[in-house]
Symmetry: C2
Subunit: 338 residues, 2 copies
Amino acid sequence: MNHVKQAKRTTIYDLAELAGTSASAVSAVLNGNWKKRRISSQLAEKIMKIAEEQGYALNMQASLLRREKSHIIGMIVPKYDNRYFGSIVELFEDMARARGLFPIITCTRRDPELEIEAARTMLSYQVECLIATGATDPDRITEMCAAAGVRSLNLDLPGALAPSIISDNFAGARELTRRILVNCERRLGKKGPLLFIGGRGSDHNTAERIRGFRAAHSDLGLAVAEEHILACGYAPEKAEKALDDLALKGDANVGGMFVNSTISLEGVMRWVRRSGHLNDDSLVLGCFDWDPFVSLLGNEIEMVRQDVPEMLKKVFEVIESGVSKPVVIQVPPLIPQM
Amino acid sequence: MNHVKQAKRTTIYDLAELAGTSASAVSAVLNGNWKKRRISSQLAEKIMKIAEEQGYALNMQASLLRREKSHIIGMIVPKYDNRYFGSIVELFEDMARARGLFPIITCTRRDPELEIEAARTMLSYQVECLIATGATDPDRITEMCAAAGVRSLNLDLPGALAPSIISDNFAGARELTRRILVNCERRLGKKGPLLFIGGRGSDHNTAERIRGFRAAHSDLGLAVAEEHILACGYAPEKAEKALDDLALKGDANVGGMFVNSTISLEGVMRWVRRSGHLNDDSLVLGCFDWDPFVSLLGNEIEMVRQDVPEMLKKVFEVIESGVSKPVVIQVPPLIPQM
DNA sequence: CAAGCTTGCTCAATCGATGAAGCAAGAATT
DNA sequence: AATTCTTGCTTCATCGATTGAGCAAGCTTG
């Protein structure tokens, strides 16, 4: 490798000069189709050796400008602060690379403005496909992509204009609620009442989970009080405050809680600690999402773990099949044996 | 926005034709320096209107090919499975964007091969600067970057060839160890013995933390048994197995543990549960790294939280100052009041 | 030995955006 | 009226890699 400080980066023209050949021969050798272009293996080896020596790195911008396909696949993701999105990103990168694609990922912090901005930037980078994960306004992104002739896909939260791969939130929430109720019965001798806490009432997943929460109640002939549905947002502080407010109203007669994300669970646990519920098992918890430490918290918190590998498998299946109709594919979440 | 399915994406030439002007006028208007190029505001407005209507998105590859600077900043990161790296990535993206840079991040799963591969790809994308976070072989990456005339920087783990921003692992570990020993005294009536578990003996951070661990012991006139230093790797299973092996050797007389990451703590906690140490407070724990749920675990686990905002602030200071000498900047971690 | 084929290359146009240089028309100055 | 200045554009080369077309030299074949 050449350790001389160089102002300009090495190009195929530099290599061509060094090898006493043409840039097109160098290009053919370095991008691998030199056999097709009938370059002798002697010249090929010579060029590859020189490229190695010079520490040559392809100028992707020039290459992509000329080529028809970019092989770039984009993903926008709301946050990196939980295992769910963390594993989505990690596995997505892996699967993309395994398919010869270059993944670019950007985090939009649940900010609709930033989502649009990020999508536009991804389009500028000529992504072949954009996956909008947990987007607040997925259809807007789909429209932007469609205008640029780029396919898009929704993950985690569905949209009306592009294929969506989401968890089966209804079934997952119904089963989780059933388990919380069973645990209530077992540990407290009564079925609830339960609180639903966390998430945005306006997002599809939260709405479906609330529907599952209600269905599990009605399966057992139980009623759900409206004031026990607290779609207060995802942030820990919001969950904590919602519980404080509820306690102020004197409505502290709660047997268990359905917590709608690990992030909200942080706030719930903080509130639980403050209000002294710690180890007395007087509060039965369930969480829609998984975190390794939560299972160690000691309150026997039930968790529903979204099936990220399966979801991403579907994502790539949809991409590879070329489907762009707005179907919704629901993936059953993983629920551990009771 | 134009919703007609288009085979080709709109270019400045298309816009120029529609506006009855030249491509360079369109370019000047859209990249904002039309005043400098003396384009009339009438034409500018007309062009911007048409661009909007057509849903035009810049071809970044073409733009970058022509421009001298890419404004792309790259980061490689080992994992997304913990809060430390998650917050690094999230904040890095934010700070990069605030500086008009486009961040591209890729996860290399602590795989040295993948690190090199990722670095090469980033160079192909013409990054102006590459930040190697927690890299197993940072110097190799620095060499590659230097050969391409690209600056690089190490974060979390130091290298010998580029500026490094890392936590003050020695001081953090010394204080954490001191606290674990104090808690041992208070809760068990004896100072240890402590176990050090997790991390790689070969990495700088682990070595420094072991040094801090030893220093805190010697501060109190205590000895550390060699067999109580278990740098068994980061994965939870490895920590779990290391503890099993130790127990098999009959060496279960341990008062507390210094756990060298939240990831290792997962394994430790699993082992603790299995071996029945759960709520009896007979094991005093401390963890070098922070996780919100760990503070809720109930075993009064001490944590050292690395100061990510300060570290990234230093990262950008170094970048902006143009320093490329291999200095090591140590950032004190945050340790909550006792 | 002429005509055709194969091998191993080179030439030159191209991708889309950029910006230095240039040019025409009108305004201002002498 | 002649000259210079200003305004508001356009033209064209360029960035580096790619690829269809082309070409020369050697090899076959009838």
